[in-house]
Assembly symmetry: C2
Homo-oligomer: 394 residues x 2
């Protein structure tokens, strides 16, 4: 028998979320999420949906009508883009330089797409020439790439890949889970046909929704399908009827999560995109300056680094798990370990959204220095001074 009294009140404490996501959530967002739940066809909620779409379009920098939060986490957004655009037998080219490109391939295989992989070393960008070679003589339906590889910290330039997609008549599909809200991601200017993101990275809303956007060419591909979308839940032709003018019932929207997303997007609009992106860059530069001053090194070459996800090589003599435990238990700081081939080799330090701030950079640098010294790892002096210098120039 279950003893109801043995379950205590929710009390997660207050972490400093500097991992690969979720990131710290503003109290305003949490407050919005705790507003009374109302019906998913209530006139007030319909206005919340419209505003959320408006705010999302502004963040994606697009006029795309079909711009909505999918009722699932970032991976549901990935699946949404592929299952709607790809039919069995369609050729799909996927660029792979980390966990999330690998996941794209898994999905393409499950839904019967004809997959061509373009692989690059984990921790480096995809070479556009390799993509050009891969599509030669082919007419892929989709060319897919991850903008911000959360598993490695690599930032993929999109312009050249977009041009290659246009040249070979492919739809350009981009994973923006970690980049959206933390750096420039203009869908319209960059010629992106389908993009998805997550709420728990640079948007700083709890996980649970996945903003997606489809261009007119993307919508045409959905409209002209010969086979039904294999997922009923993620079928955009139906989901868009609920978010569009028809307001046709499909599934019950996650009301309170959408309250939270709207508030998080409102905070972004108040800050302004330029200022927000600059803030992410500045804090990233300060963190890197501190890390390098300590004598540690970054996995990714300087020109290929993401601002919001920093992969630090674990120095010789440091114990991956013990260091992360000491950060969490001693300082309340969450960072991420390496994934896949990078497990045990790197730490992933997020500076995302609400968490991308000076006080977190200083807290992390001083905590890491202290812990490494305690564990007998040689660390050079001057990390905080190096970070300070960046801020005073910034």
């Amino acid at each position: 028998m279950l003893d109801a009294a043995s379950f205590r009140d929710i009390d997660p404490g207050q972490r400093v979320l500097m991992g690969p996501g979720p990131s710290d959530v503003s109290a305003r967002v949490l407050q919005a999420m705790s507003a009374p739940c109302i019906g998913h066809l209530d006139p007030y909620f319909l206005s919340v949906m419209d505003e959320t779409q408006q705010l999302l379009r502004s963040l994606f920098q697009t006029q795309n009508a079909l711009t909505i939060p999918v009722s699932g986490t970032g991976s549901a957004g990935m699946e949404t883009c592929f299952v709607n655009l790809v039919e069995p037998g369609d050729e799909v080219v996927v660029c792979v330089n980390g966990v999330f490109g690998t996941r794209m391939c898994d999905i393409v295989n499950r839904i019967g797409g004809k997959l061509t992989r373009v692989d690059a070393e984990w921790g480096r960008t995809i070479d556009p020439q390799a993509v050009r070679d891969a599509v030669k003589g082919k007419s892929p339906k989709v060319l897919a790439v991850v903008h911000a590889e959360t598993s490695t910290g690599v930032c993929q330039p999109l312009e050249e890949l977009s041009a290659i997609a246009k040249d070979c008549g492919a739809l350009f599909l981009v994973d923006m889970v970690t980049s959206l809200g933390g750096m420039e991601v203009s869908l319209d200017r960059m010629g992106i046909d389908a993009a998805y993101s997550g709420t728990q990275k640079c948007i700083s809303c709890p996980p649970g929704l996945s903003p997606v956007s489809f261009s007119e060419a993307g919508i045409n591909a959905i409209t002209n399908r010969k086979t039904p979308v294999v997922s009923w839940y993620l079928d955009m032709s139906m989901v868009s009827s609920y978010w569009g003018a028809e307001r046709k019932y499909h599934h019950t929207a996650p009301i309170n999560m959408i309250y939270g997303l709207r508030e998080a997007l409102r905070i972004i609009a108040e800050e302004g995109l330029e200022k927000r992106f600059a803030r992410h860059r500045l804090n990233h530069q300060a963190l890197v300056a501190g890390i390098e001053a300590m004598g540690l090194s970054m996995l990714v070459p300087e020109t290929e680094r993401l601002p919001m996800l920093n992969t630090i090589r674990i120095p010789d003599g440091a114990d991956d798990v013990l260091v992360r435990k000491a950060l969490l238990n001693g300082f309340g700081i969450e960072i991420g370990g390496g994934l896949g081939a990078l497990a045990g080799k790197v730490w992933r330090v997020g500076l995302m959204g609400h968490a991308a701030r000076e006080r977190n950079v200083f807290l992390f640098l001083s905590a890491l220095e202290t812990i490494l010294k305690t564990q007998g790892v040689a660390v050079k002096a001057g990390a905080l001074e190096a970070a300070s210098a960046v801020y005073s120039q910034g």
Copy 2:
């Protein structure tokens, strides 16, 4: 350009949610959802996951190890059960007497199952003999039925269908979106192999999660698949590694939604299942007594009615939409209209979870009586007295 200042604070007011869901959410649940977001592998969150599973097993009345909330709404739970159990070419028998049985068929067709439908009139139960006839000479992999048809208000008895499933070697799959938390649904005693629900009905948590549970036979069917599950996001062989002992990263769990679900389940455990089910029955009986005293009639015959979803025939002379608008705008009460073949013919009045209470029954009866009279529809006197009489006996 977007004007950030034009977006106001979230302020949905306070509705009385007596539609087909979402239902009223307790302030305790909203408060739990607004606790600080932490990492999805944080030791504290792992304990929240374990407790949520414990509480869910108690509510489903099962020992099933694989009992978790899927990271999507109830329809994602439906899709989860079918995509994991059904492979292309597998025979599936689906009972259809409303919108949600119809949806099951849609999903089976999309994933390449060989579908056999057993149809019944909308507003009536499925006749077990028709199911027996349909499976004769067949070896279906799955027999699927909706326990509580939210579109009609019909309660499907499960025992005989479960026996038929066992006889023909089929897995018994049951939609419990609207029944779970409001009436008896013992998975183990009823021999159910896969079940899914939603959080926004009788659990009284906001929408966004779908509790699912698989029996050992269900898990074996997943383990012995010859083809991969078509959905990466809903693939239980991977999702269960995150919820199980391995804690293997799959996708980022909707942290704050799970806080809310745990609190809603804790409230249910505190009340006790017997007491909770009795409360749903009593309020249902009072509502029906009042409705019938007014001279209106129920769609579903007495023995086939759900306690938590009441379908009332719209009386002659009443305007469906105008009445619902008057309820919402004058009294803050949300009820549902009819779906599909029942559009314009019935109102759907929910008495779910936190909303299944005396004050809502009285508010609704008095509001409806007032509105109908105002609109010139003949209504008999005595609704409140009839409801009162039920409570004083109850």
